[in-house]
């Protein structure tokens, strides 16, 4: 382990390091260390390329050791092909496909090598089964509800689903290419638009990265207000999704009540910064809007009141026999599958895997105030709903407490331009799980690479696993219990 430690650069979440200090290892050593860390309980946080010397690709890995609260950075130069690590470390499967698509590095021996965002159905056929009465069901990209586009291909026998392949990329807008060479006047708005339902989460990750690169720390009052905004975003999405889950199982009281109560949390964000999704509130250097003591107190009361109604509404939901009948055992993901695929957020916690960036890699206000980690056991739709309802309670408590005891002082300080030749990793526990931004500056202080990873990048594989041996009619319910981001994945 000491030999490994010496060959990996250790860093904290939200810390900037010299980009040149990241060890450059021979490929075999890089792969050996990565495989060792991942099989010893580590997780891939980021795994990305950028142009290296001699036409090669400089591959950088950021691996998390949650128990130690540390990140390990290492890099290597790769050519046109590398041996695939996916058979040994399945959590890398999509990262290797992404590297193949973005930089042409072919992982030899990858079990299912296709592009991630530009899949051509004729050139990249779906996994197909053959046999009497086995049939295929194709859904999307345009779906029946008001949701984002994606394609789902089921291999079925009657109602029974053997396999689900998820093909995304319809939402690809070229976010990373637009970020290249920044920061510029577009950067903040772009990052608020990675996933519109996670505007606060993604922008908070960006703020942490930008502030680390500039070497500034925001005032305590700003950090607290950011924490409040992040928890309100979590509340709005969890409450809305629990309502939608109730709708999917035909339990309409909770569907109606939660649909309306979700607005209380969105409106609370709008009271902080004018926009229901928290756009325009955060900025590198702090927040753009302050709250007076009276306003903060009123907001705390409002959050408490709304949570009280959410609690009553969810009690109806969890007490109902028909709800339990539809959610118990539906869409189960085993703890083993969760660990091997590297799932994050409530999807992982529902499988009994207690990982949460707010605790494991605390940054900002979470260094001083803690949110207890909620876990479930059964890994099914019920467990995901339960975990999210517990998180609502804890987020509401946290937000109200922060609002009632905001530290005094300014809420915004100037944030200098990024220092040249630095690399910063920023992790934030968004409502779907771990958001990771890695910013690397060149000699001119501009972004030579800005890597964005939405938690959905890990968790779509979890949804595919959840559908195995289920009824195809339970797909909407399973899908909603994860409610993953298409645009966050597609970038």
């Amino acid at each position: 382990m000491t030999a490994v430690a010496a060959r990996v650069l250790e860093a904290w979440n939200g810390e900037a390091v010299e980009a040149a200090a990241v060890p450059l290892l021979p490929l075999s050593d890089f792969q050996q260390i990565a495989a060792d860390v991942l099989s010893a309980g580590g997780r891939p946080v980021a795994w990305f390329g950028r142009p290296g010397p001699g036409g090669k690709v400089l591959l950088t890995a950021v691996l998390a050791s949650d128990a130690a609260g540390r990140l390990g950075l290492l890099s290597t130069l790769v050519g046109e092909s590398v041996p695939s690590l996916t058979p040994e470390c399945p959590s890398l499967h999509l990262f290797e496909r992404e590297l193949f698509e973005q930089h042409g590095v072919r992982p030899e021996g990858h079990p299912w090598l296709k592009p991630v965002r530009n899949v051509l159905p004729d050139r990249h056929p779906f996994f197909a089964m053959e046999g009497e009465e086995v049939h295929e069901v194709a859904v999307g990209p345009v779906h029946a509800g008001v949701i984002e586009p994606g394609h789902f291909r089921f291999q079925c026998h009657g109602e029974h689903v053997f396999h689900l392949e998820i093909a995304l990329g319809y939402q690809h807008r070229g976010v990373e290419a637009l970020l290249q060479g920044g920061p510029d006047r577009r950067t903040v708005t772009l990052l608020e638009s990675v996933a519109g339902d996670t505007a606060v989460g993604h922008l908070l990750a960006h703020c942490h990265a930008a502030e680390a690169l500039a070497g500034v720390e925001v005032p305590a009052r700003a950090a607290a207000l950011r924490g409040v905004a992040l928890e309100l975003e979590r509340l709005a999405n969890h409450v809305g999704d629990l309502g939608a889950l109730a709708g999917d199982v035909g339990f309409l009281p909770t569907a109606s009540y939660c649909g309306a109560l979700r607005a209380d949390f969105l409106n609370a964000l709008a009271e902080m910064g004018g926009n229901r999704f928290g756009r325009g509130l955060l900025v590198p250097g702090g927040v753009r809007f302050d709250l007076s003591t009276a306003e903060a107190g009123r907001l705390a009361d409002k959050v408490k009141r709304a949570m009280d109604l959410v609690r009553r509404s969810l009690r109806l939901f969890f007490r109902s026999a028909s709800v339990r009948g539809r959610t118990d055992g539906t869409g189960r993901v085993s703890r083993e599958a969760c660990l091997s695929l590297g799932l994050v957020g409530p999807s992982a916690r529902a499988c009994g895997v207690a990982r949460d960036v707010r605790r494991d890699h605390a940054s900002g206000v979470y260094r001083f105030a803690h949110v207890p980690v909620a876990t479930g056991e059964s890994g099914d739709v019920f467990a995901r709903a339960l975990v999210r309802s517990l998180e609502c309670e804890r987020s509401a408590d946290f937000a109200a407490k922060q609002l009632r005891a905001l530290p005094r002082g300014p809420v915004r300080i100037p944030c200098a331009a990024p220092a040249p030749g630095r690399l910063a990793v920023a992790l934030v526990e968004g409502w779907r799980g771990e958001i990771a931004h890695v910013a690397v500056t060149g000699g001119d202080g501009r972004f030579a690479r800005y890597k964005v990873k939405d938690p959905s990048f890990h968790n779509w594989s979890g949804l595919a696993m959840a559908l195995r041996n289920q009824q195809i009619s339970d797909f909407p319910l399973c899908n909603k219990s994860f409610n993953l981001s298409y645009c966050g994945h597609d970038l």
């Binding site: 965002r117 530009n118 990209p141 345009v142 029946a144 509800g145 008001v146 949701i147 984002e148 586009p149 319809y170 939402q171 690809h172 807008r173 070229g174 290419a177 637009l178 006047r185 577009r186 708005t189 772009l190 638009s193 996933a195 519109g196 339902d197 505007a199 809305g240 009281p253 109606s256 009540y257 649909g259 309306a260 607005a263 709008a270 009271e271 004018g274 926009n275 229901r276 999704f277 756009r279 325009g280 702090g286 927040v287 753009r288 809007f289 302050d290 007076s292 306003e295 109604l309 009553r312 009690r315 109806l316 007490r319 109902s320 915004r412 300080i413 944030c415 981001s485 645009c487 597609d490």
Partner: protein, 284 residues
């Protein structure tokens, strides 16, 4: 069982009527809500373009001159321009009405309301009392999609006006498009539109669908519906994302169900942004 039912009814009574008072009563929006911007170019220093240089989406045209305009189809309603302006020549009102019947109608000078025109009589007769829309997210970030979902909830309750989203384009009277239209969604968008029986309506929702928004110029998208000339647009709704009331205002005006200035509070003119705290805090 009876016990559960009683719980449901008790909570129902406690929650009371949830539907907003608008359009019979005023539109109640948060104090810090950023609606239609107003410009006062007479205050600008000659040749100053601080607002335009700070804008993430190049939404400010002819800055610092008498003909200065904001393209609401590009505006993401952030605070960069108001922070950058040394003269307070650009400010936001709380006017949520941000729709137009043509793309040029979203170009906004001075202090003029943006009110979409009603359809012609035949179309009003067809759709005025019942409008079924198919939503197509063409690389929308789920902000506009979330607000379109919200117009169907019990608070905004679009169904009381006969407006609903349907699952199939075959059942629809038109489509509501969000997002800048990624290249990967262009074919699916066209097919969905073609599947809607004529006469059909097209509504562009949000800055991305109107102009590409913050993604404008990215080579893997079309800069919104203006980049898809096959699909004619009947209603343009600005915002990032548009507030549910902004969406409803646009749809109801298009259908001829809302006319004139009202209803709403302080329909035109700068609404006082309120106590000092409501203005953005500048760094340092």
């Amino acid at each position: 069982m009876i016990d559960d039912l009683l719980h449901i009814l008790r909570l129902r009574a406690r929650l009371g009527r949830q539907t907003v008072a608008w359009p019979d009563g005023p539109a109640r929006l948060p104090e810090r809500f950023r609606g239609r911007p107003v410009l006062a170019p007479s205050r600008c220093r000659d040749g100053c373009r601080a607002c335009a240089d700070a804008c993430p989406t190049e939404a400010i045209l002819d800055p610092g001159r008498a003909g200065m305009r904001v393209d609401l189809g590009r505006c993401v309603f952030c605070t960069e321009c108001t922070e950058a302006c040394p003269e307070e020549a650009i400010r936001y009102t709380r006017d949520h009405r941000l729709s137009a019947s043509s793309r040029d109608g979203l170009l906004c000078a001075g202090d003029e309301p943006r009110l979409a025109r009603a359809l012609d009589e035949r179309m009003q007769r067809l759709f005025g009392r019942s409008l079924r829309l198919r939503q197509v997210s063409a690389a929308g970030c789920n902000g506009c999609e979330a607000e379109l979902n919200a117009i169907g909830n019990i608070q905004f309750d679009a169904a009381r006006f006969g407006i609903q989203f349907v699952a199939s384009p075959r059942h629809a009277d038109g489509i509501a498009v969000t997002g800048p239209v990624s290249e990967n969604m262009r074919a699916a968008l066209l097919k969905t539109w073609e599947a809607v029986p004529a006469p059909r309506l097209v509504v562009a929702v949000g800055a991305c669908a109107c102009s590409g928004g913050v993604f404008r110029g990215s080579p893997v998208q079309a800069d919104g519906l203006p980049g898809v000339p096959e699909i004619p647009v009947d209603l343009w709704i600005a915002g990032c994302p548009p507030h549910p009331l902004t969406v409803l205002d646009g749809l109801l005006r298009m259908l001829g169900c809302l006319e004139g200035e009202g209803p709403g509070e302080a329909p035109t003119g700068v609404v006082d942004p309120g106590p000092g705290a409501a203005r953005p805090v500048r760094a340092g």
